[in-house]
Symmetry: C2
Subunit: 319 residues, 2 copies
């Protein structure tokens, strides 16, 4: 099976996840959230890690569904907390069905994810469930730190990496480890694939931050400069604050029009070469992901290429 066939299998199975028909008001938003598309990166990593370690795509399918369900659950609840009206070019669940419905249907998604993860092959149920629940707590912890950063102006690069490793890295890393466990990997290989997923996540997030300022508006899908307007504590903002000795905060404290604020901060970034340095940091984690992959003893080495291509694509993507 090639990646395209695996992806098609994932889409097919997502469309037919076992869930009650009624009350329709509870489950329709769940289907809506899952139909929103997205890269399906987490289930794909899980299935490919399982196959690379000697299992079949089918073995990993329930776990893959659980991971995608969990990911979408976090988006449904995040969009309430952030008052985001859109998600992947459509109305968010909160905007379409109301905040209360988004809370309740989101809760149902988390329980459906737990139900799916409990259906992995019997021998690995304890290890996979423990990994899944720890991962979930890490994701909430990352969301918590992200929220706390909003009211702070002294976030360090170390704290930033802690936050994104929890909020973004943990789920990608666990997707790989869970797939590896189901595939029958030894502990060292499961850990190596976990590290691969974590570094992939860090590279992905650094690239995402970079694109928000330096991306092409036509392909990025969101307005350029949103992070600057929101004064989001990204790697670039934190680094520029540290290196500019007060110049960044002076710009942010001024009462500027959004366009002018973006323009002035971007010029400061250019002066400090923060964009290139962010790109270099992403490349560093790209390299660390490949190094971790090198430590994995894959039962099917042909799949190494998939993991290499995935990190190439994510860490240097244009959109």
């Amino acid at each position: 099976m090639d990646t395209k066939e695996i992806s098609a299998m994932i889409e097919r199975r997502l469309a037919s996840i076992d869930m009650p028909a009624r009350p329709a008001g509870l489950y329709e938003p769940v289907r809506y959230a899952l139909e929103g598309g997205g890269k399906r990166l987490r289930p794909l990593l899980c299935v490919q890690a399982c196959r690379a370690c000697g299992g079949s795509a089918e073995d990993a399918m329930e776990a893959a569904m659980a991971l995608e369900m969990f990911h979408n659950f976090t988006l449904v609840h995040d969009d309430i907390m952030d008052h985001s009206a859109t998600r992947r070019g459509r109305a968010s669940v909160a905007a379409k069905y109301g905040e209360n419905q988004a809370i309740l249907s989101g809760d149902a998604m988390l329980t459906l994810a737990s139900r799916l993860i409990s259906r992995v092959p019997a021998g690995v149920v304890p290890a996979v469930m423990a990994e899944f629940n720890e991962m979930a707590l890490r994701v909430y912890e990352g969301q918590q730190l992200d929220t706390e950063f909003e009211t702070r102006k002294n976030v360090t690069v170390g704290e930033y990496f802690e936050m994104i490793s929890l909020k973004t890295g943990a789920l990608l890393a666990s997707a790989c480890r869970i797939g590896a466990l189901i595939g029958g990997a030894d502990e060292a290989t499961a850990d190596a694939l976990y590290d691969y997923g974590m570094e992939l996540g860090l590279a992905f997030q650094l690239r995402d931050d970079w694109l928000d300022t330096f991306g092409d508006a036509a392909t990025f899908g969101k307005p350029i400069g949103g992070d600057i307007i929101n004064e989001k504590e990204t790697w670039m903002l934190i680094t520029a604050r540290h290196d500019s000795h007060g110049d960044l905060d002076a710009i942010l404290d001024e009462d500027l029009e959004p366009e002018e604020k973006i323009s002035q901060v971007t010029r400061l970034y250019d002066r400090l070469r923060v964009g290139e340095r962010c790109d270099a940091a992403a490349a560093e984690h790209h390299a660390l992901a490949l190094a971790a992959l090198g430590r994995a003893q894959l039962a099917d080495p042909a799949l190494r290429e998939f993991f290499e291509e995935t990190v190439d694509r994510m860490a240097s993507r244009k959109l």
Copy 2:
């Protein structure tokens, strides 16, 4: 061990549930929610069902914690959806920490509950987890129906019972079945204790509705008549609407002061003897609970008394 000792053990264990220390902002609301007290009815039923079927209190303790954690999670999210500022005489989590925090810390509580339920004795993990996740979905389904009832004026008594069996009954019933499964009960006894918990829940909810109108304000803890003001679709309201041929809706449609509205509806209830009939319905489910209990083959028949006393207390409680 007597009931008092079991209850003390539950309190002790609730105060020391394994959870990460930081970020404090995520987990402090979890501890606050658990410290709010309450009857601890669900963990108590679980532990006693386990002991009655031949297990120890310790065997059931992780499941008991999971059930109490789950119950409190639903209260945290319900209080956001209902905009309830108070819970058990204290500020609700949403009021004290904000709605966003209540969403996120509530999510953590659901995952902590899943983690606890996955730690039951290994032999019963699959059955207990399946029961737990099905129960959780039923509770959300009940909440969904309850919300949908708010915008309807043609709810039937049958629909009301479906709603409370999902929203209130399912968790009490599953607490009993999960305890029984851990204790090693045969299927018939696990089912009988499930039915006991379900009937207990229905009697409890009918009594709760009755108290909201006919209770003693000094002991009930909430203002009397809240359900009437909110036109909540309780057994009494539905029955009075059906039997009064338009008189109830005529009162509700009038622009009355709250006190006057409560007074007129209560007089209508008296005229139709709706209060006595609600009490009789509670007594019926009380009897059905005892009948279900009679079908259970208890390894420790001394515990039959606990289950009898519990339903006596719940179905005829004054507060």
